[in-house]
Structure formats: structure tokens, C-alpha cells
């Protein structure tokens, strides 16, 4: 194997990569890497040949990948820094700058971003980045309005209005990342609503209603997301977004189950049954309909947390030493069995 072979495969072009092809290449790169590393660890490939094997398997970036990476990095980091800087600037509430100048600045940023979207279009990464920036600038503008006019609006209203204002763009963009931002805004608005209406102590001592509503929101979003992806909506098929929703939904229902165990009145008595139903659905959907071991791994962890909490509540009493040991061993057995099962599922999926 010579350096020339690798260079021939790597190519020398710096053409702009196609977005869809880039995504497929990335997935392929990841899979090849895992497989080749696995083979090296099994001793089927000499460790000193790892680099060459990864190169040949397409697991390492080639010229066009680097070109695409640098292009995307400069774009997204640039946009992120500018947007974050703008938000910091308005939060500073600079006295030396008049209110109209501040409004002009915030609105000019939105108009400039939208003009860029209009020029580049939403199919190009530059247009998408500009729309992303515009959506965040809208939040800065609403915050500025509240800051200057002291409208008396609560913070949750800012996030709710922000989410409502950018909804048309989110729909038009047909882009998973912007939908996740939008759902995050809704989550924050709901959490802040309970924070404001429940008082400062409400957040800490009565979070159950808030958890139920957030759980419902994220679970409905997940179901709709998966259903639309299953019927062929291409831009919803990126697994990362569905995993974010599944993690949020699973985390919340686990918290509700824990409330059900430790304070059944608070959870309305439904915490554990709903958790069990969620587990059953997750198993059916992500084992038999949409294969996603990530969600199954989260479900296993949820089982470990809830079962160990249940046992801790009922067993930790007079003979605490034995109970601690028993629960510890049960946790270890459950996690070992869960790990074995997940690896088995992974092997079957690969076969």
C-alpha cells in the first residue's frame, strides 16, 4: 500500500459538497470506523495498519470532506458568534445608545438575514444559516421591546410570542434543526410559566404538573415526528432530532415515575402506569418498527433508575446493609443483562 494509492482515492478537488451526499458519507464514515476499529481489536487487522484501513474504508475525511467541513464550520461558527454577540449586546442595555438606534439595529439584523435567505434560498446551507440567525434575532427584538418599554410581560410570554412569531418560518424551512429550536422555545415558555405562576417555591416543590405538560408536549412531538418520517417526509429522517425528543420525553416520564414512587399523591397516581406504558410503546416502536438502539438504551437506563428507586424506598429500613447490597447487585445484574440485550440487538440489526 502506498501513499499514492491513498492520495488517488482522496482526490484533489475542492468542489462544494452536496448536502445530502455529505450526510450519507458521514454516516458511512462513522460505521466504517466502528467496524474497522472492531476488527483491529479482534486482532484481524494489524494495529499498525489501522490508519491505512480507515483510509481505504472511507472512515477518514478526504479533500472534499475537509473543504466541506471548513466551509460549514466557518459559516455556522460565524453565525453563532454574531447572533450570540448581538444577544449579549442587547442584554447589556447600553445607555449611550438611544432606543431607536437599538430598534433599528435589531430590525436591520433581521432584515439583513431575511434578505440573505431570499438571495440564497433555503436549499443552500447559507440560506438556512441566515434563517436560523433571523429566528434568533426575533427573540432579541422581543427582549429589547420588553426592556425598553417595561411592558410588564413575564418572561414566559417572551418565549411564547417568540415561538409564535417564527412559526411560519419554521414551517417553510422544512428543517429539523429549526423545529428542535422551536420545540425548545415552547418547553422554556412552559417551564417559565410554572416558575412565574407557581412562585419561586413552585418550581422546586410542585413541578409535577409542569412535568406532565412538558412530557405530553415532547411525546406528542415525538409521535408526530416519527409518524411523518415513517410516511416518507425525508427531512424528518435524521435520527438525532427524534433522539433529542425521545430523550426529553423519556427523562420526563422517568421523573414522573419517581414522583409516583416517592410521593404518589403528587404524581396523581399515574406516574408509574404511564411510565410502564411509555416503556412498552418504546420497546414496540424502536425494536420492531424503527430500529433505534439509542432509545432502547435510554429505556434500559430508565428501568434501572426506577426499579432501584422503588427497591430503595421499600427495602431501605432496619436492615439497611443487606438492602444496600441487594439493590446494588440487582442494579448490576439489570445493567449487565440490559447491556447484553442491547449488544445482541445491535448484532442482529447488523446481520
Amino acid at each position: 500500500l502506498t501513499g499514492n494509492n491513498i492520495n488517488a482515492r482522496r482526490g484533489t478537488g475542492w468542489e462544494l459538497p452536496n448536502l445530502a451526499a455529505n450526510g450519507k458519507k458521514a454516516a458511512s464514515m462513522r460505521n466504517s470506523r466502528d467496524e474497522i476499529v472492531d476488527w483491529v481489536e479482534q486482532g484481524r487487522i494489524q494495529p499498525e495498519n489501522l490508519r491505512f484501513a480507515l483510509d481505504i474504508g472511507g472512515a477518514l475525511p478526504v479533500h472534499s470532506d475537509w473543504r466541506g467541513f471548513l466551509d460549514r464550520f466557518l459559516l455556522w461558527a460565524g453565525v453563532l458568534f454574531v447572533v450570540a454577540g448581538a444577544i449579549f449586546f442587547f442584554a447589556y442595555n447600553w445607555d449611550s445608545m438611544g432606543r431607536y438606534a437599538k430598534f433599528a439595529l435589531a430590525e436591520a439584523a433581521i432584515v439583513a438575514a431575511l434578505a440573505f435567505v431570499w438571495w440564497r434560498g433555503l436549499d443552500r446551507v447559507g440560506g438556512r444559516a441566515a434563517l436560523f440567525a433571523a429566528a434568533l434575532f426575533v427573540g432579541a427584538l422581543f427582549a429589547l421591546i420588553g426592556q425598553i418599554y417595561q411592558t410588564g410581560a413575564d418572561t414566559f410570554e417572551l418565549f411564547a410570542v417568540w415561538a409564535a412569531a417564527i412559526l411560519p418560518w419554521v414551517i417553510v424551512a422544512r428543517w429539523a434543526a429549526l423545529w428542535i429550536v422551536w420545540i425548545a422555545l415552547l418547553n422554556i415558555a412552559i417551564a417559565l410559566y410554572f416558575h412565574t405562576m407557581g412562585g419561586i417555591f413552585g418550581l422546586f416543590f410542585d413541578p409535577v404538573r409542569q412535568f406532565w405538560i412538558l412530557f405530553a408536549l415532547n411525546t406528542v412531538a415525538l409521535v408526530i415526528w416519527e409518524a411523518l418520517a415513517a410516511v416518507g417526509v425525508e427531512w424528518l429522517r435524521d435520527r438525532w432530532a427524534a433522539r433529542v425528543l425521545a430523550t426529553t420525553s423519556g427523562g420526563l416520564v422517568t421523573a414522573l415515575a419517581l414522583y409516583g414512587i416517592f410521593d404518589s399523591k403528587d404524581a396523581g397516581g399515574f406516574g408509574v402506569p404511564v411510565w410502564l406504558a411509555w416503556l412498552g410503546c418504546a420497546y414496540f416502536v424502536y425494536r420492531h418498527r424503527i430500529s433505534d438502539i439509542y432509545v432502547l438504551a435510554g429505556a434500559v437506563l430508565s428501568v434501572i433508575v426506577v426499579v432501584s428507586s422503588f427497591l430503595a424506598k421499600h427495602l431501605l429500613g432496619d436492615d439497611a446493609a443487606f438492602a444496600f447490597l441487594l439493590i446494588g447487585v440487582i442494579v448490576i445484574v439489570m445493567s449487565a443483562a440490559g447491556g447484553w440485550w442491547l449488544k445482541d440487538v445491535a448484532s442482529r440489526e447488523a446481520a
Binding site: 500500500l1 484533489t12 478537488g13 464514515m29 462513522r30 466504517s32 470506523r33 467496524e35 472492531d38 476488527w39 479482534q42 484481524r44 487487522i45 494489524q46 494495529p47 495498519n49 489501522l50 491505512f52 484501513a53 481505504i56 474504508g57 477518514l60 478526504v62 479533500h63 475537509w66 467541513f69 471548513l70 464550520f73 466557518l74 461558527a77 460565524g78 453563532l80 458568534f81 454574531v82 450570540a84 454577540g85 448581538a86 449579549f88 449586546f89 442584554a91 447589556y92 439509542y294 438504551a297 434500559v300 437506563l301 434501572i304 432501584s308 430503595a312 446493609a321 444496600f324 442494579v331 448490576i332 449487565a336 447491556g339 442491547l342 449488544k343 445491535a346 448484532s347 447488523a350 446481520a351
Partner: protein, 359 residues
């Protein structure tokens, strides 16, 4: 990866003389990263209960530093023996992980009793314990854990002697060295990778929760004034240098000269982020994790880098070492410079004939 793609990949490697024989069976011992994370968290939960058991059962022994140290050491040795004797057993792996973490907890209790409020010797000794476990206990998840906590112990020791601002750049230096040389470790590559992930986890959590002279440090370790001005400058300088140095090393590994357009633009971009890192020290480190992850085809590392960058920017808002106006100017100027670099990439580079480079 499907079986068909695996076979095709294997055939390619055989054709190039890198492999021989039939396609290997998929190794069940190898789990996806999220399964390993799940196992790590579960092991930690199990360890808490085992520690509770030891706390109740051996209360009188744990009350004395020597007793706690001996009991903890026995647990760690037992775990290491378990890992070595049953390397493919899921149960032994999880049991060993939980027992070892519980043992480490007991050693921490012992060191706490021995050294009291004097943190640095206790932290250095704990780092030594974690190093021994890293070398002697052959379990991937366990090695990630001991690497992470071992580096954290060293960070606490540096913190205690007033060198907190050097922690992140030093950790990032080791991180860069490990991952850039990932393909050179030969039969110890798996161990190196575990250490590399431990360093990455440490760096990410440091970036998001603990970095700099703000937040936790103010509450946990006293006022920032105790750190000398020189240390602050050196820390800021090293933070700024992390990404440019990582890029130079990567360019060297890939055979790209600094006189080539590719090298110049990559380095210029890194310098822009590096300059921003002078005041926002986490930015360069987070981007370095992202870039090195991409260079090694490692999506987990790249993802950690992105999360670290977003997390750092969120906590940067609350940092007290600069006003929001200063931070805003820094971020907007850096952002515009990066966008300008992209413009240059498109206009200057694409208009030129392609050049033969290695990456």
C-alpha cells in the same frame, strides 16, 4: 453497518493486503457509544448502593483513614482481578465497575480524613490511584471513568496551588497529543482511546460548568485574586494557542504544508478562533475537540465538541471577567472574521486552479 456492507469493506481490505481470511464475526463485546454511556451510569448507580452497604456494614472500619484506604484498595484490586479474569463477561464488567467505583469512593474518604482541608496532596494521590487502575484494569468503560476522574483529581491539585487557569489548556494539550497519535499506539490503541474519551469528557464538563475565573470557582475555591497575574496571562495565552497548535499538528500529520492555501486558510481560521479564546478561553478548546473528532472520523468526539461550544457560550453570558458589551464586541468581531474567512474561501480559493495536497 449491514452485513453486506461489512463484507464489501472486508473485501476491500483483503484486496489491499491489510486483512486475510473470512469476514470476522461481529464482536458482541463491542457496544455503541450510547450503550457504553448507559453502562457507565448504571455502574455508578450500583456503586452508590455498594458504597452504602460498605458504609453501614463496615462503619467502624471506614471511620478510620487506614481502614477506609485498605477496604477501598481491596475493592479496587478485586475489581481489577475481575476485569482481567473474565474480560468478555458482561456481568463481571458491570460488577467490577461498580465495585471499583465504590472502592475509589472509600479511598477518597480515607484521603479526606488524612489530609483534611489540604487538597493538593490528597488529589495527587487519588490521581495516582486512578493511573494505576487505568493501567491495570482492562475495561473500556472503567478506563474512561478513571481517566476522567484522574484528570479531575490533577485539576483539583492544580486548583489548590493556584494554577486553575492552566488546567484546561494543559488537559487540551494532552487530549490533542492522544487523539492526533491515535493511529500510532499499536496494540495499546484501545487504552489510548479510553484515555482520550476521559480527557474529552473532562474538557467538556470543565468548559460548560467550571472553566475560568467565574461561577463555581468563586464559590468553591475562593477569590480569583489569589491567582497571580502571570498565571492568568499564561493560561489565557495557552487557551488561545490550543486550537492553532492542534491545527498545525493535524496539518503536519496529514502532510499539508503551511505554505499551501489549504494550510494557510485552516491556520488563519484557527487563529481567528484562538484570538477570541484569549477572552473566551473555552471557545478554542471546544472547536479543537470538534476539529480533531472530524479529522479522525470520530463523530462522538465531534458531537462532544459542538455540545461543549454551545454549553460554553451559554455560561460565557454569566462570566464576570468581562462586561456583556466587551463580550458582545468580541463575539461579533470573531463571527464576522469567520464569515469573512468563508468569503475568502469561496472567492479566492475556488477561483484558483486546484493544487495537489494531501488533505
Amino acid at each position: 453497518m449491514t452485513a453486506a456492507r461489512g463484507e464489501s469493506l472486508w473485501a476491500m481490505l483483503v484486496a489491499r493486503g491489510l486483512a486475510t481470511g473470512a469476514v470476522p464475526q461481529r464482536d458482541k463485546a463491542r457496544a455503541p457509544w450510547f450503550v457504553r454511556v448507559m453502562l457507565g451510569i448504571a455502574g455508578w448507580i450500583g456503586a452508590l448502593f455498594l458504597l452504602g452497604f460498605a458504609g453501614v456494614m463496615f462503619a467502624s472500619i471506614l471511620d478510620r483513614p487506614l481502614g477506609a484506604a485498605v477496604l477501598g484498595a481491596l475493592a479496587c484490586v478485586g475489581a481489577a482481578v475481575m476485569f482481567r479474569s473474565r474480560p468478555k463477561s458482561d456481568f463481571a464488567e458491570q460488577f467490577g465497575l461498580a465495585v471499583s467505583i465504590a472502592g475509589q469512593g472509600m479511598i477518597v474518604i480515607a484521603l479526606g480524613k488524612w489530609f483534611g482541608m489540604k487538597l493538593w496532596p490528597a488529589a495527587l494521590l487519588m490521581a495516582g490511584v486512578q493511573t494505576c487502575l487505568f493501567l491495570l484494569a482492562p475495561s473500556f468503560v472503567h478506563r474512561v471513568w478513571v481517566a476522567w476522574t484522574g484528570v479531575f483529581a490533577i485539576a483539583l491539585a492544580l486548583d489548590d496551588v493556584g494554577l486553575r487557569l492552566l488546567v484546561l489548556p494543559l488537559a487540551m494539550g494532552v487530549f490533542t497529543w492522544v487523539w492526533v497519535r491515535e493511529f500510532d499506539f499499536g496494540s495499546r490503541a484501545e487504552m489510548a482511546r479510553a484515555g482520550g474519551y476521559g480527557l474529552a469528557l473532562f474538557a467538556c464538563l470543565q468548559l460548560v460548568f467550571m472553566h475560568g475565573e467565574q461561577l463555581w470557582g468563586l464559590f468553591l475555591f475562593g477569590d480569583v485574586a489569589q491567582f497571580g497575574r502571570a498565571v492568568a496571562w499564561i493560561g489565557a495565552g495557552l487557551s488561545a494557542a490550543v486550537l492553532p497548535l492542534a491545527v498545525v499538528v493535524l496539518l503536519g500529520r496529514e502532510g499539508v504544508g503551511l505554505d499551501s492555501r489549504a494550510g494557510q486558510l485552516a491556520l488563519a481560521s484557527a487563529v481567528i478562533v484562538g484570538v477570541a479564546s484569549f477572552k473566551a478561553p473555552g471557545v478554542g478548546s471546544a472547536v479543537a475537540i470538534l476539529v480533531i473528532g472530524f479529522a479522525n472520523g470520530n463523530r462522538v468526539l465531534s458531537g462532544l465538541g459542538i455540545l461543549a461550544l454551545l454549553g460554553y457560550l451559554s455560561q460565557f453570558y454569566y462570566a464576570l471577567h468581562a462586561t456583556l458589551l466587551e463580550k458582545s464586541i468580541l463575539l461579533v468581531c470573531s463571527g464576522l472574521a469567520l464569515l469573512l474567512a468563508r468569503f475568502v474561501l469561496h472567492r479566492w480559493w475556488l477561483s484558483q486552479p486546484t493544487e495537489v495536497t494531501h488533505a
